[in-house]
């Protein structure tokens, strides 16, 4: 999959309360949630983000709660992928389960500046920075993750496995 958009930068330990504050969790409607995406980190984000834009985070992105509303609202806000130095465990798992592309790449996070124009190839993990004319390579997913991603998330994977069992 090829993704293209401009970079937004956030720091280390971006927690799920910053991504989607709990005061908005009385609904699970993705469009409603998207209106408040990253609100406690940058209150203007949700109104200014363009379809395809990318979130660049530091270490431990998505720490805190297990709320799947976090990757759901990022995806619904139009963000095409999240690139970070590392991801918190549950956010990582949730993103793969719902099909939000995420990439781990220190070099990209260090080099990419706010507003840089980025093209990502999720299959090869190559991240191209068109503004700086640089390229970085993300850590490849372990084979099992690739299988999950290719199936289109966990529910499809489970359905596929159930089908194999009954066949």
């Amino acid at each position: 999959m090829k993704l293209e958009g401009n970079a937004w930068k956030f720091g280390d330990n971006i927690d799920t309360d910053v991504i989607i504050p709990a005061r908005y969790l009385n609904t699970s409607d993705p469009a409603e949630l998207a209106k408040h995406c990253m609100e406690d980190g940058d209150a203007t984000f949700a109104s200014r983000v363009q379809a395809g834009d990318m979130i660049i985070g530091g270490r431990n992105f998505g720490c805190g709660s297990s709320r799947e509303h976090a990757p759901i609202c990022i995806k619904a806000a139009g963000v095409s992928c999240v690139i970070a130095k590392s991801f918190a465990r549950i956010f990582y798992r949730n993103s793969i389960n719902i099909g939000l592309p995420i990439l781990e790449c220190e070099a990209a996070v260090e080099a990419i500046a706010v507003g840089n124009h980025i093209v990502v190839d999720t299959d090869s993990g190559v991240i191209k920075n068109l503004t700086k004319n640089e390229s970085y390579t993300a850590k490849p997913f372990p084979p099992f993750m690739q299988e999950l991603i290719q199936a289109g998330g966990l529910m499809n994977f489970v359905a596929k496995k159930a089908g194999e069992k009954h066949a």
Binding site: N13, D15, D17, V18, P21, A22, R23, L25, N26, T27, S28, E39, D40, G41, A43, R59, N60, C63, G64, S65, S66, R67, E68, H69, I72, S86, A88, R89, I90, R93, N94, N97, I98, P142, F144, G153, L154, M155, V158, A159, A162
Partner: protein
């Protein structure tokens, strides 16, 4: 090579004799849990897939604890989704208001989770049940949906870190202080994707309520699970409550650990985590003058009987500072009733504190005690992220019930020694 408790429980649930860190396994689940925020998303996925039944109606737990008693129309709609799903699928462990308690208080209390279990919960603090010698971890709604259908989940077997607590605990130092100190030591991603195994003579003497507090906050160091080996204290706690047979697991002598930390508890003072991360800990002697607007005693971290007793012992015959609000939230109806019987409500009310119905409430900034811009709270909860209890420019400090009670009296962050 021997195995750790975590490895043994995962191996047993995957039908394997041996597992090693990094192995990808599919494990059978003893309990699948969700709440009023996460379960609606899971139920949506469940129905979208066309599933017609849960794998076991006794093993799925639905606890509407976050925005209950329903704080607004939207929250009421969310809880209604749980209720209708529970009725349709005859789910026994749906907790209607009146029986409902904070999920991680009520499941151990009722013996629904037991030693040796493999548990997933669509709530990050599901790791609490490690205190019983179970493998329990937080996952998201989609994993919950798949778990409700198949009774299984995939896991990467985590590496384990061993923490050995030695020495003697100082007066007024609790499980909360030990876990805050530990998170301060290793950082909020210090145990990422790993198991935190709490051991040593101090843990062997720690009460079950203290152990539940410690395992509860393993996620605040990024851990997959926290765990404490089964012993006499575990046995006393589970006997008479366990709803199913249980099994004790112990780490082998030659088990492999990614790291080992020896912590001398004799020098640990009561701890306070400053905004906006649980790792920003300071001993109480280094806190300085921090004025407060609110104190909250409750949550899945510290809303149990021992916590309320500790707070009451300090608040007895005292008054809380008139410039601050003090909210006390018993974790479950049973704790609520017990505290009332023991006369703790009289102590709290005479002191000028108020007692709330069991709920997560202000812990996640839901309702029942939200902070205005610029306000400061000290809470016995587990997270002090930006905006966690209300306005993005408010602040949360984390500490034990003893520190919370002392701070309530003085209107600023203070240790119990200052008021006794």
């Amino acid at each position: 090579m021997g195995m750790t408790i975590t490895e043994k429980i995962l191996a047993a649930h995957a039908g394997l004799d041996h597992v090693e860190p990094g192995d990808l396994i599919t494990a059978k689940l003893d309990i699948v849990l969700g709440n009023d925020i996460t379960a609606p998303v899971a139920i949506h996925e469940f129905e979208k897939m066309g599933a017609t039944a849960v794998y076991d109606k006794c093993r799925v737990c639905l606890v509407p604890d976050h925005f209950t008693p329903n704080k607004d129309i939207k929250s009421a709609e969310q809880v209604k989704i749980l209720r209708e799903f529970a009725h349709k699928h005859e789910i026994e462990n749906f907790f209607e208001l009146g029986r409902m308690g904070v999920e991680h208080c009520i499941l151990p209390e009722m013996g629904i989770v037991v030693p040796g279990d493999c548990i997933i919960g669509a709530d990050s603090h599901t790791c609490t049940y490690g205190a019983l010698g179970a493998f329990a971890t937080g996952i998201g709604s989609t994993d919950m949906a798949a778990g409700m259908i198949t009774g299984e989940a995939w896991f990467k077997v985590p590496e384990s870190i061993k923490f050995i607590y030695t020495g003697e605990l100082q007066e007024h130092v609790s499980g909360k202080d030990l876990i805050l100190y530990t998170i301060g030591l290793i950082g909020v991603d210090g145990a990422s994707y790993m198991a935190m195994e709490f051991t040593g003579p101090v843990i062997e003497k720690l009460s079950m309520d203290g152990r539940l507090t410690m395992c509860n906050m393993a996620i605040e160091a990024g851990a997959k699970n926290g765990i404490i080996a089964f012993d006499q204290i575990t046995e006393e706690y589970v006997s008479g409550r366990a709803q199913r047979p249980y099994k004790a697991y112990f780490s082998d002598e030659d088990a492999n650990y990614a790291a080992t930390y020896a912590i001398d508890c004799s020098k640990i003072e009561p701890q306070v985590a400053f905004p906006h991360l649980p790792e920003n800990t300071r001993p109480i002697s280094q806190v300085g003058d921090v004025k407060l607007d609110q104190v909250v005693i409750g949550s899945c971290t510290n809303g149990r009987m021992e916590d309320l007793r500790v707070a009451a012992a300090i608040l007895k015959d005292k008054k809380v500072d008139p410039n601050l609000r003090v909210i006390i939230i018993p974790g479950t109806p049973t704790i609520y009733k017990q505290a009332m019987h023991e006369g703790l409500f009289d102590i709290f009310l005479d002191a000028g504190a108020i007692v709330s119905t069991p709920t997560c409430g202000p812990c996640l900034g839901g309702h029942m005690g939200i902070l205005a811009k610029g306000e400061r709270a000290l809470a016995t909860t587990n997270r002090n992220f930006v905006g966690r209890m209300g306005h993005p420019e408010s602040e949360v400090y984390l500490a034990s019930p003893a520190v919370a009670a002392a701070s309530a009296i003085l209107g600023r962050i203070a240790g119990p020694k200052e008021v006794l």
